[in-house]
Amino acid sequence: MTTVLAWATLFICLTLTAIRIPSAVRGENRMMFVLFALISLDILLSIEGPYLLIDAWLGNFNLCNLLLRFMLYGTFLLMGIKVARAFGSPGGERAIGGPIGLAVLGATAVLTAFFFFSMDTSGSTVGLNDLDPGPALDIYAALGRFYPGYVAVCLIPGMWRSVRNPGPVLLRAASATLLLGLGLLIVSQVFPLIPLSNTWLRPLINYSAALAAALGLGGIWLSKTVARRTSRAVT
C-alpha cells in the first residue's frame, strides 16, 4: 500500500516535471522546473529500491539519507520563498528567506549532520528503519520533520487568506490542495506520539503531504493555462 503510494507520488511528480520542460526551455519560471525536479528526486530517494542502489554507491552507511535530508531542506527553502512571494505574504517570505529563516535552516542543517555522524549508521536501510533506536536517531528524525513544518507554519496564514478570497475556482482548489499538504507537514510533527502499532500512518502522511503539495502546485499551473486559453478564446 505504502509502496504503491510512493511510486504513484513519484510518477505524478515526474509527470509534472516533464510538463514543465517546454516552459523551462523557453525560459519561463525555470525555478518551478527545478522545484518539481527536486521534489521528484526527494521522493525517489525515499523509496527502498533506488535508495539502496544509490546508498551502495555512496559507501553503504546511509549517507544517502543525509543527502535526502539536505535536499528536502533545499526543496522547502525554495518552495517556501516561491509560495510566500506568490501569495503576497512578505512576513512569510522574511520568516523563510530572511535572516531568521536562514538561521533556522543553518542550525537545523548543522544539527542534522552532527547527529548523523554521531551515530553508527553502517548498513544501508531506507528511512534508517533498521538502525538501533536511540535518542540521537529520534532527534535526527525530528530535525528532518522540523524544518518542513517550520516552512509550512510560515506559509499557512498567507495561503489561508487566499483560499478564502474570491478568485478562479480552479486556482482556489489548487491552493487548498497545497494548503492541505502543508497542513499534513505540521501534523507530521507529532509522529512520536503515534503508537507503534500504527506506524504505517507515518509514510501515509508523508507521501500524502508530498502528493498534495505537488498536485497543488501543478493545479496552480493548470489554472493559469486554463485561464489563458479561455481568455484567448474570448478575444
Partner: protein, 241 residues
C-alpha cells in the same frame, strides 16, 4: 423557495394543454434536463416559469401570482416609490443624466435609459428602501444570516422569495425586488412606461449629483476590489505558474 411541481404542472396544463414538455422546452429555451430535474425534485425554479410564460405570451408576473407563495402579487398593483424607480437607473445613465442636466448641448442624443436590471440593481434597490433596520427585519423574518444577505447583494442577485420578503419588510410594493433581480421586466411588473425617467426628472439637480456621487464611489470601490483580486491571482500565477 421554489414552485411545487404539482401546482406548476397544473398551471402548465392550463396554459398549454396539448403541448408536450419537450415542445414547451423548445419554445421557451429552458433546458429539458433542467426542467425534468426540477420537476422530479418537486421544486420548479421561478425563472423556468418566467421563461415558459413569456414563450406562451403570458405575463410572467401574473403567472407567478397564481402560485400560493406569490399571492402577494395579486390584486391592484402597488406603484413603486420614486426612490425604487431611480434605484433601477444604472449608474452610467445617472451620470449621463447629470451631464444632460448641466446644459443641453447640440449633437448629443437624448438619454434613453438602459433596460432593467443594471449591474448593481439589487444593492441599489435595497439601499433605496432601507430605513436602516431593513436587513435586520429581513433576517428576523426569513432566518437568513445577515452576511448571506449581503453576499446576495454583492453578487447582484436576489432569490425571488427573498425579494418578496424584503419588500414586505420594507413596506413597499412586492414587485421591486423581482424587477431589481431581473426576474421580470419593469413593464411585466406593471410599472408605468417612462416611470423611471419621470422619477429621475423629478429629482433636483443637487439630489441627482449627490446620488450619482454615491453610486460612483461604490462603483469605484467595487472596481478596485476586483482589480485587487486580479493582481493577487496574477501574482500567484507569475510565481508558481
Amino acid at each position: 423557495m421554489s414552485l411545487p411541481s404539482k401546482a406548476f404542472q397544473r398551471w402548465l396544463h392550463g396554459i398549454a394543454p396539448n403541448t408536450s414538455t419537450a415542445d414547451v422546452c423548445r419554445f421557451s429555451g429552458v433546458k429539458r434536463t433542467t426542467l425534468a430535474q426540477q420537476l422530479v425534485r418537486g421544486k420548479v425554479a421561478e425563472s423556468s416559469l418566467v421563461s415558459i410564460s413569456r414563450a406562451f405570451d403570458m405575463n410572467p408576473f401574473d403567472a407567478l401570482a397564481q402560485f400560493e407563495a406569490y399571492a402577494a402579487l395579486r390584486g391592484t398593483p402597488v406603484l413603486p416609490t420614486d426612490a425604487e424607480l431611480v434605484s433601477q437607473v444604472s449608474t452610467m445613465d445617472l451620470l449621463r443624466a447629470v451631464v444632460e442636466r448641466s446644459g443641453p448641448r447640440d449633437g448629443i442624443p437624448p438619454l434613453v435609459l438602459e433596460e432593467t436590471p443594471h449591474p448593481s440593481s439589487v444593492r441599489n434597490w435595497v439601499d433605496a428602501i432601507d430605513d436602516g433596520e431593513l436587513r435586520h427585519r429581513v433576517s428576523a423574518a426569513t432566518g437568513i444570516a445577515p452576511q448571506n444577505f449581503s453576499a446576495h447583494l454583492t453578487a447582484n442577485r436576489l432569490p425571488p422569495e427573498l425579494a418578496l420578503a424584503t419588500s414586505r419588510a420594507a413596506g413597499v410594493g412586492p414587485a421591486g425586488g423581482l424587477v431589481a433581480s431581473g426576474l421580470v421586466t419593469e413593464a411585466e411588473a406593471g410599472w408605468p412606461p417612462g416611470a423611471r425617467r419621470d422619477a429621475l426628472d423629478r429629482m433636483t439637480e443637487g439630489e441627482l449629483a449627490l446620488l450619482s456621487g454615491e453610486r460612483l464611489q461604490a462603483l469605484g470601490k467595487a472596481l478596485r476590489r476586483h482589480e485587487h483580486e486580479l493582481d493577487h491571482t496574477n501574482r500567484i500565477w507569475e510565481n508558481l505558474g
